[in-house]
Amino acid sequence: MEFNCLSFASIDICRLRWFNGIAIVVVVFWFFVLAEDPKAKEPARLVFRNVTQQSGVNFRHTHGGCGKYYIVETVTAGLCLFDYDGDGDDDIYFLNGAPLAGCPQQEKTTNKLFRNDGGLHFTDVTAQAGVGDTGYGLGVVAGDYNNDGFLDLFVNNYGRNVLYRNNKDGTFSDVTVEAGVDNGSRVGAGALFLDIDADGWLDLYVGNYIVFDESKHVFHQLTGIPVYGSPEEYPPDKDTLFKNNGDGTFRDVTEISGIGRVAGTSMGMVAGDFDNDGDTDIFVGNDVRANFLFVNDGKGYFTESALERGVAYNGYGDENASMGVDCGDYDNDGWLDLFMSDYQNEWPVLYKNTGNGFFEDVTFSTGAGGRAYPYVNWGVGLVDFDNDGDKDIFIGNGHINDRIGEIDDTTAYRVANAVLRNDGGKFVDVSATAGDLPNLVKSTRGVAFADLDLDGRVDVVILNSQDTADILRNVTDTDNHWIQIDLRQTGKNCFGVGSRVKVVAGELVQYDEVHAGRGYQSHWGLRLHFGLGSHDRVDRLEVHWHGGGHDIIENIPADQIITVSPGGRWSRSRIPGH
């Protein structure tokens, strides 16, 4: 290179070449050294806006009590996000309580179905759909049990349960009796659809809480303030496992499947392949008792192994209230982890899957408890709210006793919910700056998550006890990319429940599974959502179909919803309006 005299009038070619050389060096230097790791950039602030008022969702929950403080009043209810009409967006089904013994019949209370009309507008279609069950709603799950391509609904009640078969025309029929899933008059809890033996037909796991009826109720007071009894005052109950016969009916296989060997106090539950052996296991949270982990042998026989696998109790060896539970791979190591909510003065528990379905309580070392300690927590979700490629945590809070403030000023009946952002495996409580979140102070029970407005960000729907529901639109300001995946098969397990998906985008590798039933006695997530950070495409998508089949799809553009079918076929579901 030559350095000629400085001249501002013209640029010597040699200087230009010299300058270009320097420029190239600078660019290369920036690219390799100074350029930020896309993942390492400043995390987005999670922000949620309360859009309930303009949404048309006017659901108000009741627990059906009238001052008698029946224990069942505390555990109602969950909710369901599912696409009942197959138009590509999730609709909302809220469960409701019903008048309890000795309580006067007020206005008729039913469960409610709100159709998603797009743009975060919803219409109450309960009556037309025929799903206005008047039973005492506790848990709910959606699944295509008859493999006709439309999602059906199972409602787990205190009392008679209900199976609604989707008629494919926007209506449902109550087929409980003909399907054989009545289950008597018990106190329900969560429910799951899962294929226990990979035969392509969804089976039904029904949680049962305690053996109770109003005649057994004992009224409790503490210094003159009514308080609810504890579940320990009542006998535990066995859960029920129904095997799908493939003809629209089920048979009870509780005892022969091994499920009936134990009885618990079920609340939240979730099914997943926790030991990565290709079949679906079941985790059940039991209220103030040891939790259950039913490990599947692949043929539909289960062995309860929670104690050996480290999820029966928390890290201290104490049983927890075990309200809601979700599963997800919070640290992207390929193993499904569990996050469980708890009672006042108990920490929620993050169970890290250390491999092969063995777990370790990592709540304290990850900060996953947040500030939840003083409160009762219910609905939870492991959800990527900021699309940075890892799962954040949402916790719904609220005490069981509406008069708790008169007994104990360290907690409260109505409490703001919480969101913890996942920063590389450590959680930071960002609730205070999460938009409208800290201002919503109610007593939450079920929470569910879905991209309701198809803008690529997962929104939140909240059922609050004795109060109106809330819809929180995720308005997190982020450039991060995302992809949503619907798994579809024909003729068997149409929505791919239990199937495992691996998404690779650059160095970001994520895993998820399709679950039917999760959180606090709720349902969401048949559509898988993956945040991709700064990656604008998926380099590689692998689907391990439940029951067999492994497809690989490469080079998929981000920011869209795709439908994937066996054989590696995929198509774009919808162009988002984002």
């Binding site: 504890s230 201290y316 209230a321 304290f364 403030g405």
Partner: protein
């Protein structure tokens, strides 16, 4: 002893001559329960003082983290321990607020002993001290009735007994204490407890902070404040207060464990280990602390170290449920599956036992927790009134505490001590009968019973009681001394009396027993031995009243 010896006559002859004087001087002092190895301040007649933990950081002083410990009456019943782990980490049953705490419920311990009797009455009306005559029939027994019991004037409780009413009573007495004794830190401590019981932790915190203004090293206030802050989720402030408290009381096990758990829950694992090891260095190791250290080691994946400390924890407390769980986890991670399984099985058995115990608590009335807590408040209130020279009010409080808690031991023991000092054997016997029913295997109650029988001169029953005490605990020095006294007063088995007194002295060489031995020796005409034993008593405690009187008698016959 200096001076010429008294005329050498057998004690018995001297007693015949100086019957009233000798027996009055001797026997009246032995109606107090015998307590082995107590510090001088715990001797009869001395004022009961709160435990000064700033000068003597006793690791056992505030064990278990129970809110309702009594500071002034150190009743060492064996059942008065609560697992810190239950209280701090497993509040499922509200154990942080001590369901079942506050009262030392019957544990059938053999080790409860009677502490210092209550302070004497107001100066202008001196209650007879330790030298009060045992021969003097109790006023209620002037009619000659010397056996049986008379009903005690228990407080009238409403039916049904509601939590509201109990809480209100607790507030009344706590308000009274706070008003009457505004600078008494223990009175304020009780006041704060009542607010906490009512769920008003805000007010309770203010009062406990006020306690620290009154006494900046007041350990109970630190513990209560830390626990409330933890419940509220304010771990930063809780840590700060815990450290402040530990600066004054580095040997406070409960506070150290609280700090360790706070650090653990914030993920500060190395600090957990440092905190627990610091306690170990001070000689205040506890199973709970070791458990917390193990938790930290496990989270650091140092399972070999976790195993070491957990094995120590279960060695110290074989029925530590959670430690077995944690040990199973670590052994599994270290590849010892058989060991892991073994500890899992132990854990499950202990868990079943714990759940049954919890279920038993749940089956009682809903306000059980309030009842026992308020009983504890009255228990503490009694001690405070007593310390301020108000024994009548103290008695009312202890009776209320005992009435509220039918299984209470502590209030009943306090009443026994009071009745002994006030020489009300009928009342004392009524209470002792209940204590024996609650803790039939506790020899201390039999000793107290014997003492009351001595007071009413029912020597047969007194002897029977002391013998029962010895059957329960062949090393109970107080029982030996009491039995010796009974024989001496009954004037029979004098050789046996001396032998018993010698045994008492061997077990616990304290002045009271040397005096008993001296009397026995004198009764048997062994004046030299009598004098030597009196001298020994005076060497230990030169101001021992009875020893001095006996010395004068031996020297001058008076």
């Amino acid at each position: 002893m200096s001076g010429s010896p008294a005329k050498r006559v057998p004690y018995r002859e001297a007693a015949r001559e100086h019957h009233d004087a000798i027996h009055y001087l001797f026997c009246e002092n032995f109606d107090q329960p015998m307590r082995p190895g107590r510090s001088p301040r715990s001797l009869p007649g001395s004022k009961m003082t709160p435990r000064d933990t700033s000068s003597r950081d006793d690791p056992q002083a505030y064990d278990s983290g129970c809110f309702m410990r009594t500071e002034n009456i150190k009743f060492e019943t064996g059942g008065f321990r609560r697992s810190f782990v239950f209280f701090a980490i497993a509040p499922v049953l509200g154990l942080v607020f001590c369901s079942g705490c506050g009262q030392d419920e019957s544990s059938d311990s053999r080790h409860s002993t009677y502490s210092v009797p209550v302070a004497s009455a107001r100066p202008e009306k001196q209650t007879p001290s330790a030298t009060a005559a045992v021969w003097e029939p109790a006023p209620s027994d002037q009619s000659g009735e010397s056996q049986g019991t008379v009903p005690i004037k228990w407080p009238k409780l409403p039916s049904p007994l509601t939590g509201d009413w109990m809480k209100e009573q607790g507030h009344h007495v706590a308000d009274e204490l706070a008003q009457k004794f505004p600078n008494d830190v223990y009175a304020q401590h009780v006041h704060a407890q009542v607010y906490r019981l009512s769920g008003d932790t805000e007010e309770a915190l203010k009062i406990w902070h006020h306690c620290l203004e009154l006494k900046k090293d007041f350990l109970p206030a630190y513990e209560e404040i830390v626990q409330i802050l933890v419940r509220r989720g304010d771990h930063a402030q809780a840590e700060k207060m815990a450290r402040q408290g530990l600066a004054f009381h580095p040997r406070a096990v409960s506070l150290r464990n609280l700090l360790a758990s706070i650090l653990l829950e914030q993920g500060r694992l190395d600090e957990v280990i440092t905190t627990v090891l610091a306690g170990r260095a001070l000689g205040t190791e506890s199973p709970e602390g070791l458990f917390l250290a193990a938790q930290a080691y496990q989270r650091k994946q140092q399972h070999d170290r976790a195993r070491e400390v957990l094995e120590e924890a279960v060695r110290l407390r074989p029925e530590f449920t959670q430690a077995h769980y944690a040990l199973a986890v670590s052994l599994a991670r270290l590849g010892d599956q058989a060991g892991a399984q073994r500890h899992r099985e132990i854990f499950q058995k202990l868990k079943e036992r714990d759940q049954q115990a919890n279920a038993a608590i749940l089956r009682v009335e809903s306000d059980e927790f309030v009842r026992r807590t308020v009983a504890g408040i009255f228990q503490q209130a009694g001690v405070i009134f007593s310390n301020h020279g108000l024994p009548e009010r103290a008695e009312e409080c202890w009776l209320m505490g005992a009435a509220l808690s039918p299984k209470d031991v502590v209030c009943r023991q306090a009443l026994v001590v009071l009745y002994q000092q006030q020489r009300r054997p009928a009342a004392g016997l009524a209470i002792v009968e209940e204590l024996v029913g609650l803790e039939p295997r506790n020899p201390s109650h039999r000793v107290a019973e014997g003492v009351f029988y001595l007071q009413i001169q029912n020597f047969e029953k007194a002897i029977d009681s002391f013998k029962q005490a010895l059957a329960l605990d062949p090393k109970m020095d107080a029982a030996y001394a009491g039995l010796a006294q009974a024989y001496l007063q009954k004037k029979e088995n004098l050789e046996e009396a001396r032998r018993l007194a010698e045994t008492a002295v061997q077990l616990s060489p304290q002045p009271d027993y040397f005096v008993v031995l001296a009397v026995a020796s004198a009764e048997l005409g062994d004046w030299e031995q009598a004098r030597r034993n009196v001298e020994k008593a005076l060497t230990i405690n030169p101001s021992h009243d009875l020893a001095r009187k006996l010395a004068r008698f031996l020297q001058h016959g008076i």
